[in-house]
Structure formats: C-alpha cells, structure tokens
Amino acid sequence: MDALIIVALVLPLLLALLVLWPPSRPLAEGLAPLAPLPALLLALAAKNGLALDLPWLLLGSRFMLDETGRLFLGFTAMVWLFSGWYARGYLADDPRRHVFWSFYLATAAGNLGLCLAGDAASFYLLFALMTFAAYGLVIHSGSAEACRAGRVYLVMAVLGESALMVGMLLVVHAASSHYLSDFAAVTPSAAAITLLLLGFGIKVGIPLLHMWLPLAHPVAPVPASAVLSGVMLKAGLLGWLRFLPLGGAALPEAGTLLLSAGLLAIFLGVAAGLCQREPKVLLAYSSISQMGFMTLGVGAGLQEPQLWPVLLPAVGLYALHHALAKSALFLGVGVIQASQARRLVLAGMALPAMALSGAPLTSGLSAKIALKNGLAGLPAPWAGLLPALLPLAALGTALLMARLLFLLARLPPHGGSGLVAPWWMLVALGVLLPWMQPSAAAGIAVWANAGWPILLAAVITALVAHRGMAAPALPPGDILLGLERGLQYLHRLMQR
C-alpha cells in the first residue's frame, strides 16, 4: 500500500512532465486520463490509519489516509478521472492540448496529494501546486477575458498562499509539531484562526473573497471548469478540516463569522447567479452558494464543538454530493452543445440539478438532512434563524437550477465528440449515491418538506417564462468591478 501512495502522488506529476517531451507525448496523452486511478484505488481499497513517513522529504513528510481523507480522495479522484476522460474528446482538435494536459495533470497531482498529506508542509506544497498549476487551466484559451480572469485568480491565489503560510506557522508553533494529527489538541491564536479562515476561504469562495471564482471557472475549458468548481473548492474545505481545532476548543467568534459568511454565500450566490446569461457563470455562482452550506457546517462546528461528530459526516457527505453533481453539470454544458439529442441530455442534466435542489431520492436531500440535523443543536439566534432560512435557500437553489436548464436549452451548438460517456457515468454515480448507504432521507413527510420549494420554483419559473420577464444582468465578478474602478481611481490620484 505504501507503494500505491507513492504511485498515486508521483504518476500525475510524471505524466505532466512526459507530456511536454515530444517523443513521449503520445503515450503520456493516452495515459493522462488514467492518472487519478491509483488515488481512486487507494481510496477504495486501503485500510484506515495507513501512514507513510518520508523523513528525508521536505521538512520530514508524512502521508496518511484517514476517514476524512479517504472520502475527499475518493470523490476528488473520481471527478478528475471522468473529467480527464471527457477532456480527451473535448480537446481532440486543440493544437496546444499538451500544454493543457501538463497543467491539468500537475493540478491533479496537487489536488489528489493534499487529500493524503499528513503534515503542514506537504499540505502547503500540494495546495500551492494545485493553485498555481490551475492558473494554466484558467488562461488556456488565451482570450483577453481569460487573461483578466487569470490575473485576478493569481492575485487572490498569492494573497491566499501568504495568509496560509503565516497561519500555518502560527499553528505549527502552537502545536510544536508539523503533523496534522497534532493540531486538533491545540487552540491556535485568533490571528492564526483568522488567517486560516481567510486563506482557505479564498479557495472556498466565501463572500467578498469570491470574486475570482465566477471569472475563472467559466473561462477554463469545460473539463477544467468541472474540476475547478467540483473538487478544487473542496480543497479549501479540507484545509479548514485539517487545520482548525474542530471538535476541540469552542471558538464562538470564528464560528459566528463562518456561519454568517455561509448564510450570506448561500443567498448571494443564488441572487447573483439568477442574473447571469452564461450557464457556466451561473454554475460558478451556484458553487459559491453551495459551498455556503458546507461553510455553515464548519462554522457550527467551531461554535459548538460537541456537535462536530454529527457535523463532520454531514459536511463530508455534502462535499461528496456537490462534487459529483456540480462536475456533472459543468461537463453537461459541453455535452449539450455537441449533442443532437438535446432533450435527452437536458433530461439527464435535470438529474444533478434536482440533486442540488435537494429533491426527494437524491443525494442532495440526504446531504441536506444530515446537515440540518447537525445544525439543529445550535443555540439562538441560529436555532430560530436557520430553520426559517434554509427552505428559502432550497427554493433559491431550485430557481437557479430552473434558470440553468432554461439557459442550456438555448445554447448554440458547438463541436465535440466522446463527451457523452464520461458525463453519463458521473450523472449515474450521482443518482446512485443515496442508495449506497442507509439514510434518514426517506418517508412521505420528509419528501413533502423537500418537495415544495422545487414545485414552487417550477411554478415561478413557468410564470416568469410565460410573461417573458428577464432578470437584470450582472457582470461576472460582481464586486470586483467596483474594486477595480476604485483601484484605477486611486492609481490616477497617485499619478497626479
């Protein structure tokens, strides 16, 4: 199994290099989609508690597999696998596809590896690898739009990395150890918590730190969007799980901050998403909104540590559910454009869309109920606030998904082949997910509770469509425009 860990870490990196060398390029491009396979095997087959110490590497590295890591590694590997398969077809005619593959594989190496990292330095290394390699995915098209998105992405990434470096040093100093397993026992300083919340928060896309996301996710080629939005956001979530003292000391201020940020993200994501014309931008905003649910879970865990044993599996399930559903939706955008049988694909797209809305019998409902059960233990004012707001959030998500299907139906056609099979596989996995484990998400009352927001959303959508009303247009990146104008103004002021 130790060898498998090393193969899982090294294979994507090795292929990322081989794909750049012309003689080995055809072979490496052929193998590229399979690069996440060892990681997937590891997630499925290895025992918990697996640990591999490499005392000569970096600052003395450790790689490990625990319950949380296995879950994240599993869905991360799955989404990378199917997106890679999809990318083969999607990029078949792209003359610069070897460049894409190289960045894609390097990003995968970071994203898969960080699920296995057992010490702060290795985690930071793999997180940075993922973040910086993904820049190549964002700007792959080379358009002016992509370059602007890339610039914003890079600025935010560098800010995030700096915050994380300092936050990690503070935690490591407090714990007198750089092993992740020693962090749960210490209570880091307020500065450390803040820096970690913000540093990983940039990746998660919490409000005010989210503006890079609706710019960067849509401009990347479709398979890259799928991994960016489907799994790389969860790397930030995993960072929180790894570095924050969850289940240890209570941190009421940080908890309140995250709970508020989560709620805000849920509603702002929906509101801004509804104002979009471009399906991929809408999906990016939907990701901001959905990550808000997981942020709620982490915030609740910081505030009430005794709830963490219930919240952790709920957050994990939510991450798994969103990873599969969101990547299926992103991949579907390309499938619809390339397909002759649009209605069939639209029907397929309705499945993950329903799951995100939390419809009965979907993974979304299981995840939402698990999360709700965890959040139920929160004190006032959250005890009153959340039960009132969460159904509204479900309504909002359902509206957003209806809007998505509406926009998808009107997309102009675009070439591409070999996209359908990986997309269907992901959709099917998402559908099967709730049947793989016993769940409390069954019964008429539960379904009725979950069903009404969706029905209501359907009615509202029908009405709006009938009246021909249009949502106001909002440029992707929303507050960024204000920020950029402000900076330009400052710049002019300084030049005077």
Binding site: P55, W56, L57, L58, L59, G60, S61, A121, Y124, L125, A128, F132, I139, G142, C147, L154, V158, L159, E161, S162, A163, M165, V166, L169, L170, V172, H173, A191
Partner: protein, 503 residues
C-alpha cells in the same frame, strides 16, 4: 606542520596560486587557462570535501601565524566557516564554467580570470578567518580584487558603478577597522569563539560594546547592503553576468552577511548580544531592508537591476534570522546563506543568458522568450518561485524556519514582514514569468548573438550552469530533511552556538 594545519592553507592556495599563474599567462593560452581554472575549482572542491568529513567527525582544522606580537593571522575551518566555504566552492565551479562560456573570444580574459580566482581566495579567507583582524584583511582584499571585475568592461557606466562601489566599501572598511581597533583595546584579542568572548567583560564597558557593535555592523552592513548602506549594489550590476552572479550569491554581499554572523556569534555571542539589547535593532534594520529592497525592485525595468534590489531584500533574511533569538531563527538565517546563494546565482546566470543570446536586458523586452529559450526560462522560473517562497523550493525552507524562529523569539511582527516580502516578491517576479511564458513575442529580439542550433537555445556552457543550480534549488528544498542537506549542517551549528538556551 600537521595535516590539520595544512588543509585550510591548501584551500586558500587552491585559488590563490592558479590566480597568480593566470595573470602571467598570455591572453591566447586559452586551453591552459581553462584547464587550470577547472582543475583548481575541482581541487578546492575535493579539499572542502575532506574538511567536511573531518569537521563532522569532530576534527579541528586551524592555522595561526603571528604578524606582530598579539596580532595573529588565524585560519580556522569550523562548521560555520565550512558552510560558507562549501557554498563558495560549489558555486565557484559553476561560475567558472559559465564565465568560460560567457567570455569566449572577449578581450582581457587573463586579467578577468586572475582577479576572479583572487576574489574566491578572499572569500575563502573571510570564511576561515579565526579573528576579526584576519577577517578584516581578507574583507578589504575582497574589495580590491572585485573592483577590476566590476569595471571589467571599461565603459563610462562601468567606471562610474565601480567608483561608487569602491567609495561605499572603503568607507565601510574604515568603520569596520575602527570597531576592530576599539574592540582590540578592550579585549586584547579579537578571536572568534563559540558563544562569544565578551560576556566576561565588566558591565561598565557595555555602552562601549554597544557602540562597537554599531561600528562593526555598519562596516559589514555596507557589503551586506543593509538599507541605507545599499546604494552601491544596484550600480554595481554593470559588471559582466558571471561577476554579478558571484557578487550577489557568494562573494561580496555574502561576505557582509557572513561578517554579521561572525560578529554576533563569534564575538558577542548570541545570548550576550540579546542581553545587550542588540538583536531587536538589528532585526528592525533587516526588516526595513527586506521590505524596501522588494519595494524598489517592483519599479525596475532593467532585469539585472530588479535582481539587484531583490538581493538587497533577500540577503537581509540572513541578518533577520541571526537577530531572532533562538536556534530556529539561527537555522533559518544560516540556511538562507546557502539557499539565497543558489537561487540568486541561477537568476543572474539566466539574466546573462538572455543578454548574451538575444541582447535582452529589460523586463519589457521579455515577451515570448519562454518559447525561444525554454530551458533558461525553466531555470529562471524555479529560482523565482524559490525566492517567493513557494514549496518545495529552497526559499520555502528558509521562510519556514525564519517564521517559526520569529515566533520562538516572540517577535510575531516578523511574520508580517515575511508575508509582505513574499507578496512583493510575487509582484515583481510573476509578471516576468507571465511575459516570458504566456505572452507572444512582440518584436524582434534586440540583438540575437547566438542563433538556435538544432534544439539548443544558447551555448552549452551558458546553459548547463543555470540548469544545475536550478536543480539544486529544487533539491535543497525537496530534500531539506535528508541528512546530507545544508539544513542538517546548519542544525549542527545552531546546536553549538546556544550554550545555555532552553526553549
């Protein structure tokens, strides 16, 4: 004379003698000169290898010669000195290769390589100096033998840069001498000892010791380019690329930083320096230098000038680490002595390659160069990422230890300085990388001297040295925890410097 006395002298002689012979060689004896240069560099490396094994095993290498009664030239190859010696010997080898390629068919090569060897001799002397007097002798020798290298091209701009360099360093030397004389009058000797030699002095002399510290640090601070004593460094970048590489990575700037190390650890002793309240002002000076250097680098369009300001900032990481009281800070500072050298020499090699191959001197001319010179640009990128502090490169390891050291020394504000420096480093390096890799070539190259030959982007001897040092940048970070890394060696030094320290 025993072997243990002979070896330090042999290390000096292995560059002094070839240097003197090269001066005497006629200009056209290229083969002899090249062979001599390379044999000398390899011989030195072998000698250093023996010393490393010896010191690790607890052997002591030293040699003393009384110039006057009470005034000795002493050489001692201890663990700290060997750190600097090894760095210099390794990078000298790479730079020799590079300089041979760089100066192919250029005039005055005998003069160049002669002074080049003397420059390394002076560096070795500084590293092995056993007291302040010996240190001073070689420190001034370094000034004198680097001057002809800085002005090697002989242009008006080069002469001007050289004069500024000379003015700064001679004034610095005078300050240093003043401090040494004062110290000698108090102490009767100026020998370096683990844990310092001043703690036993009467407490009534403490104000004098503080004043001496200021004099000594100002003296070596000129070469270490501490703000506001840094003005010469951006001017001295008129030197040929191999000289800049050596100046910024091993010889001059590093000699200044190493002087600070010796003064704090060998003369004052880290614990005594802390009790005299000398470390916090030093840390503040280093912090100002770090931020100011990075800030000024942002606005330089000339690539070498940008790198020069970057050096000002990065070398002060070493000073910062020394001024953080506690072994972890010491480790961070000392390991950066090596890491900064390897990364910066890579960057200057690459800058030289761009200039020699395509006539490219400015950042604004670099659009699309990644396609024309991919290997050089790969090396440049690795070193630049290392400077920013991105893992798994060498700079990350330095930053990690400096950060932890700051927390150990209860100076959390240093973390803000490190973060700000990382951001500024990113702000002046990433746009270069973006231009080089992602922007299409905008205009014809300014002056293409070396054409593509098959797949080879430039001359072999220009290409291999930066690739080797870039690989070293990666290895120093990736394998930092292995037993052969400089990090492990530095931990050994830190163990010996802290006599009574408990966490």
């Amino acid at each position: 004379m025993t072997l243990n006395e002979f070896l330090p002298l042999a290390v000096l002689a292995s560059s002094l003698l070839p240097g003197l012979i090269i001066f005497a060689l006629p200009e056209n004896r290229v083969g002899v000169r090249t062979t001599l240069n390379l044999l000398a560099a390899l011989a030195k490396l072998a000698l250093v290898g023996i010393l490393l094994f010896g010191v690790q095993a607890g052997e002591e290498f030293g040699f003393a010669y009384a110039v006057l009664p009470g005034l000795d030239l002493t050489f001692k190859a201890d663990a700290l000195g060997l750190l600097f010696i090894t760095l210099s010997a390794v990078l000298w080898l790479f730079t020799t290769f590079y300089a041979i390629g760089y100066l192919e068919k250029a005039p005055h090569r005998s003069r160049f390589f002669g002074f080049f060897s003397l420059c390394v001799t002076a560096t070795m002397g500084i590293a092995m100096a056993g007291n302040m007097f010996t240190f001073f002798v070689f420190y001034e020798l370094l000034t004198l033998v680097t001057f002809p290298l800085v002005v090697h091209r002989g242009t008006a701009q080069a002469m001007r840069g050289g004069m500024i360099y000379l003015a700064y360093t001679l004034v610095g030397g005078a300050l240093l001498l003043g401090g040494i004389v004062w110290l000698h009058s108090l102490l009767g000797h100026t020998g370096f000892t683990h844990g310092g030699v001043l703690a036993t002095l009467d407490s009534s002399t403490h104000w004098q010791l503080q004043a001496i510290f200021l004099l000594l640090i100002s003296g070596v601070g000129v070469k270490a380019a501490l703000v506001p004593l840094h003005g010469w460094l951006p001017q001295a970048m008129v030197a040929p690329a191999p000289v800049s590489a050596l100046l910024h990575a091993v010889a001059v700037v590093k000699a200044g930083a190493f002087g600070i190390v010796r003064i704090v650890y060998g003369i004052y002793g880290i614990e005594f320096a802390q009790s005299l309240d000398l470390l916090t002002p030093l840390a503040v000076a280093a912090a100002i230098t770090i931020v100011w250097g990075s800030f000024r680098a942002l606005f330089q369009d000339d690539l070498k000038k940008r790198l020069a300001y970057s050096t000002i900032s990065q070398v002060s990481y070493i000073t910062l680490g020394i001024s953080l009281f506690g072994p972890i800070g010491t480790i961070g500072g000392l390991v950066h002595l090596v890491h900064q050298g390897v990364m910066k020499i890579t960057l200057f090699f690459c800058a030289g390659n761009y200039a020699e191959t395509l006539g490219m001197h400015k950042v604004s001319e670099m659009a699309g160069v990644g396609k024309r010179m991919p290997w050089t640009t790969v090396a440049f990128s690795l070193a630049a990422f290392g400077m920013i502090g991105i893992p798994p490169l060498a700079g990350f390891i330095s930053k990690w230890y400096l950060g932890l050291g700051a927390l150990e020394a209860r100076m959390p504000w240093v973390l803000a300085v490190l973060a700000a420096s990382s951001l500024l480093n990113a702000a002046y390096f990433l746009p270069i990388l973006y231009r080089a890799w992602f922007m299409p070539q905008a205009a014809a190259w300014p002056e293409e001297h070396i054409l593509m030959q098959g797949n080879r982007e430039t001359a072999r001897l220009l290409l291999w040295p930066p690739l080797a040092t870039a690989a070293l940048t990666l290895a120093l970070g990736l394998f930092a925890a292995s037993s052969l890394s400089p990090l492990e060696w530095v931990k050994l030094i830190a163990d010996r410097e802290y006599l009574t320290w408990t966490p």
